[in-house]
Amino acid sequence: MTTHVRDTNLLIRARAAAEGTAAVAVLITILTIGAELWSPLKDTLKTVFAHHWLGKSALAIFLFTVIFLIRRKTSASTQSLERAVLIAVWSSILSAIMMTAFFVVHALFF
């Protein structure tokens, strides 16, 4: 049974959280692979946040919060929510596959 979601605020917040999750997946992939290939990025994360992993975590929290706050001011529908969840799921899966594959290649050839 498919019905219309009447509580718009909940819908918008859920979509904002899903979009924030997708953005975090993209950010972590870029920062992780980028920091391994370009040492100034890793050094900057270490300098600013004491440890590169803490830097990635802090930036992930910051990005999620920004996306959540910005996107919860826009309208949402059940279709846009479903799409956002699918994007969050697939970006997370692709991020995990890309990072693992990168570290396999990195361990074998670098």
């Binding site: 859920a14 803490l54 969840v85 990195h106």
Partner: protein, 150 residues
């Protein structure tokens, strides 16, 4: 290893496994025709708190101790790939988990108010993804621990 580091490592493992177990319960309830949304909301909320707790305690152990004392041992041992591949993948995939779990909690709030089959299916897939990531991270922890002792 100091007592706070030992407690942090124990908390990282126990709370993390508990959060994975709670997410497993959420996923299993999604297979029902009429899940109890209030119960699922509670499970997903505690799972998010668990992932955050495991994240924080794991971060303390990893930043303060692992890089200096455990990583060099693994790299010099018989299974250096346990750090080069497994730990590197684990520590970065873990960053995504609390956000995914928080999104799951928000989505269950939506489904609690009004059901939509397409959203329910998408959210079920998100719960399954969190569960698979959690299982990978738990398995990775066992491999890393084994490599450090070998």
């Amino acid at each position: 290893m100091t007592a706070p580091l030992t407690y942090a490592l124990i908390a990282h493992v126990l709370v993390g496994v508990l959060a994975i177990g709670l997410t497993h319960l959420v996923f299993m309830h999604f297979l029902r025709k009429t899940p109890s949304w209030k119960y699922l909301r509670s499970l997903a909320g505690w799972a998010t708190i668990g992932f955050l707790g495991s994240w924080a305690s794991g971060a303390y152990y990893y930043v303060v101790y692992y890089g200096k004392a455990v990583k060099p041992v693994i790299l010099k041992g018989a299974y250096p790939w346990a750090h080069q591949v497994i730990m590197e993948a684990k520590e970065h995939i873990f960053i995504m988990l609390p956000f995914m779990s928080l999104a799951l909690w928000f989505l269950i709030l939506v489904l609690e108010k009004q059901q939509d089959d397409k959203i329910k299916k998408a959210v079920r897939n998100l719960a399954l993804t969190i569960l698979l990531f959690g299982a990978f991270i738990a398995g990775a922890g066992i491999i890393i621990s084994g490599a450090a002792r070998s």
